[in-house]
């Protein structure tokens, strides 16, 4: 029962984050909201496992955490450098100057 209450809270937060992801004026707002959606998905997974008395799903939660961060960082890296695998690239530097 108590997990049901917590799940309701997480669902409400999920809905609010989706609202921000849809409304967000800049892409960063959307990214922040999607990061929050990912966290909510992890908490939902864990709480749902406890609600149905099968908390063994948590391994997948760990995967989600890592994926969430990789996704966010990939997009952010793209934003800052315009590329993901930008290491030393003389041609591109020429183009930027």
């Amino acid at each position: 029962m108590m997990f049901a209450v917590a799940i309701l809270a997480v669902l409400a937060a999920l809905a609010l984050a989706v609202v921000r992801a849809l409304a967000g004026p800049t892409a960063f707002d959307r990214l922040l909201a999607v990061n929050s959606i990912g966290t909510s998905a992890i908490m939902l997974l864990a709480l749902f496992g406890f609600l149905t008395d099968r908390p063994e799903f948590l391994d997948i939660g760990i995967t989600y955490v890592l994926l969430n961060m990789i996704g966010t960082l990939a997009v952010l890296k793209f934003f800052r450098y315009g590329a993901l695998g930008h290491a030393q690239d003389p041609e591109r530097d020429e183009a930027l100057r």
């Binding site: 108590m2 997990f3 209450v5 917590a6 309701l8 809270a9 997480v10 409400a12 937060a13 999920l14 609010l16 984050a17 609202v19 921000r20 409304a23 800049t26 960063f28 707002d29 990214l31 922040l32 909201a33 990061n35 929050s36 966290t39 909510s40 992890i42 908490m43 864990a46 406890f50 908390p55 063994e56 948590l58 391994d59 760990i62 955490v65 890592l66 969430n68 961060m69 990789i70 966010t72 960082l73 990939a74 952010l76 890296k77 934003f79 800052r80 450098y81 315009g82 590329a83 993901l84 695998g85 930008h86 290491a87 690239d89 041609e91 591109r92 530097d93 183009a95 930027l96 100057r97």
Partner: protein
């Protein structure tokens, strides 16, 4: 289960859910990106922590508690790094925090005017990922180059292999610890903003 533990689990789950919703409400109510990040950090730390504590109390000393601990520790660590990267990318892209101006009104303010020492740091990539060599430092065009703004023109430049991308995305992570100082700077700005806001509310 002992009634004490049940009560503790209840309390932690309810409080955690409360903070979680508070963070999500703040995500919608706050005026600009940086304050929204501030609001989300509540649900990412207190909310997640208390919810996990409630679940851990419920499952007792078992493997599940260890897994929960791993989840929450990774979440806290990566959350800090990801929000730092988000703030830094937004600043580099020219995102302007909404601050209280001299006339007492909320206006988007360029943070370089408030913190001039941020200017050269924002204008350049960090040294470990520096694109320019030392010889380019004197070039004024290079000094004012803001990476996020120049991305639309270069459509013919290169893209790297997908395997490299994952690694490259992770590399930004390594810079996180050093860059925390800059995050504190943003914290300073947002507290200045909230002080100003209280003043604004009082005068009304």
């Amino acid at each position: 289960m002992e009634p004490v533990f049940t009560m503790a689990s209840w309390a932690a789950l309810c409080l955690g859910g409360f903070f979680y919703v508070i963070g999500a409400v703040g995500l919608n109510r706050m005026p600009d990106l940086f304050t929204r990040m501030h609001a989300v950090s509540v649900s990412d730390t207190l909310g997640v922590g208390l919810l996990t504590l409630g679940m851990a109390i419920h499952s007792g000393a078992s493997l599940i508690t260890v897994k929960l601990l791993i989840v929450v520790l990774v979440l806290w660590t990566t959350g800090a790094v990801a929000s730092h990267a988000l703030a830094r990318a937004a600043l580099h892209d020219g995102e302007k925090p909404v601050l209280v101006g001299a006339d007492g009104r909320l206006t988007p303010t360029d943070c370089v005017t408030l913190f001039p020492e941020l200017g050269p740091r924002l204008a350049q990539p960090l040294s470990s990922e520096a694109v320019e060599t030392g010889a380019d430092q004197g070039d004024p065009a290079a000094a004012t180059w803001i990476p996020g703004r120049s991305r639309s023109g270069d459509t013919n430049a290169t893209a790297s292999a997908a395997a490299e991308m994952g690694m490259a995305a992770m590399r930004i992570n390594m810079l996180g610890a050093l860059g925390l100082m800059k995050m504190f700077r943003i914290g300073t700005m947002s507290s200045a903003r909230s002080r100003g806001r209280t003043r604004d509310r009082g005068s009304r």
